[in-house]
Symmetry: C2
Subunit: 256 residues, 2 copies
DNA sequence: CGCGATTTGTGCACGTCTTCACAAGCGCCT
DNA sequence: AGGCGCTTGTGAAGACGTGCACAAATCGCG
């Protein structure tokens, strides 16, 4: 409770509370903890041990404690963490104390779904505007929002500050949209288009590619199959192999 | 080439060519390389250097070379990689030589979009069946497929082998669906529901949470803002802070 | 008031991933 | 045929992330 100054981090009094720069891996897990904490709060828990929370979030308890310690969190030894307080802290660190405005570009198949996705609103975001380049889509109303032409982006951005841009266009259009977003001052982009975006330094891009996830699973599926493979059947997968590949007697890659 | 026995991996003669067990990080990048390679092939390139390919895929060239070396790939020094051959190799390793069947459970907002997403079909997957628990949705036709009740899963799975299950249900239903998928022999699951799934060993689960991506971006946004923050304005972000948090005077993070 | 049960916070060791830098190999040109 | 420039493949070092195991701290109870 005491207002005392923290040792360890020297000087520089009175500045913004200033986020400790967390390891990326930790940042990526915080939202997961947050979701678990909300569940626990709804279930009536006032405190939770690292063991319990880590189970809820599906991670190792030591990892969780280390993550929380990075943000200077106050747990109580012998008791655990105060659920409500921890929620506040994580939401603060993640910058969720203000409801951030999201602009969604591309209201095709996927964009349509994103525009209607409850998960955004319920977790601190507000879809502020929808855009598309296709004139026939402009004017359409989705979930109470009217689709505007992507060229109106500057006008909309001038009216309300857009924190995050979401790109749900086909790949060929994505780079141009990204440039437009950057031009109006957006510094965080979530890209659903299957392509790499080049953006100036200082702009963060995260990419979600649904097909890639499937391909990763496919690899493991393939791998499991090749391990289980009955030696007798000899080449179920092999037959599918194009001729050229047969030469790849991949040999042993330094093993172990 | 020589048929010689492989050292390192003992016994188990005559087995499938056997995937080298790649580092997870490498596996996650292979699909990205594959996409870049397809683009290059379409553009008429016959060979490509690691430098060129890595630029297309948005990674470091040394990393790319090491990744490719893991799968025993044959590049040619002084020339580069044969685009067509590399595509074949990566597709083989990822198990994309056979078009895998995907079962999609939950045709709500997101599921609907996934069912209509071209990216799956164009990259080696085939949506084999759609399911939902809501009787009012059963029978609906999406993209040429009829939505069936999730309880029909065993019947469908008996007819054709499902390689991957995709869960696009609300969180409360996800675990039950996962259990049902596992029960019919699915060993790879892509989960879009915001919750952790518990599955038996040997089953792979990958999770995609759209809100989490936004929250990660939000953190960086918040961080950038706190660094740029004019010291004079004193507390744009601070004012939003709930009382209890004020104690976290974590101060300036080592800067740089 | 002191003790034991409980749980956090963290030092340390280990494994994985990344990056640099360079030798080895290949093709082309003279 | 020989040399030169280019590109791959990889050793080694460093950064990063993970998980164990334990000391330090707190609470509740007798």
């Amino acid at each position: 409770m005491s207002q005392h100054r923290q040792p360890g981090v020297p000087g520089r009094a009175g500045a913004v509370p200033a986020l400790p720069d967390l390891p990326e891996a930790t940042v990526a897990r915080l939202p997961e903890y947050l979701r678990a904490l909300h569940n626990l709060a709804d279930a009536g828990h006032e405190t939770i041990s690292s063991e319990g929370l880590s189970a809820s979030a599906g991670v190792n308890s030591a990892k969780l404690r280390k993550d929380l310690s990075h943000l200077g969190s106050y747990g109580t030894r012998g008791v655990g963490y105060d659920v409500a307080l921890l929620i506040e802290q994580i939401e603060y660190v993640l910058g969720l104390t203000q409801r951030r405005a999201v602009a969604l570009v591309g209201v095709g198949n996927l964009g349509h779904a994103l525009a209607g996705y409850d998960g955004f609103a319920s977790r601190g975001f507000r879809i502020a505007a929808l855009f598309d380049a296709d004139p026939s889509r402009v004017g359409e109303e989705i979930n109470g929002l009217v689709v505007r032409h992507v060229d109106d982006l500057p006008a909309v951005a001038a009216q309300e500050s857009i924190a995050i841009g979401v790109i749900a266009t086909p790949a060929p259009a994505a780079q141009r949209v990204a440039d437009q977003l950057v031009a109006v001052g957006v510094t965080s982009i979530l890209n659903f288009a299957p392509c790499v975006l080049s953006v100036p330094e200082g702009v963060d891009v995260r990419k979600v590619d649904l097909a890639i996830e499937l391909q990763i699973l496919s690899f493991h599926e393939h791998r499991k199959a090749s391990l289980t493979a009955l030696p007798a059947t000899g080449g179920s997968a092999l037959t599918a192999l194009p001729g050229g590949l047969a030469a790849t007697d991949t040999q042993e890659a330094i093993g172990t």
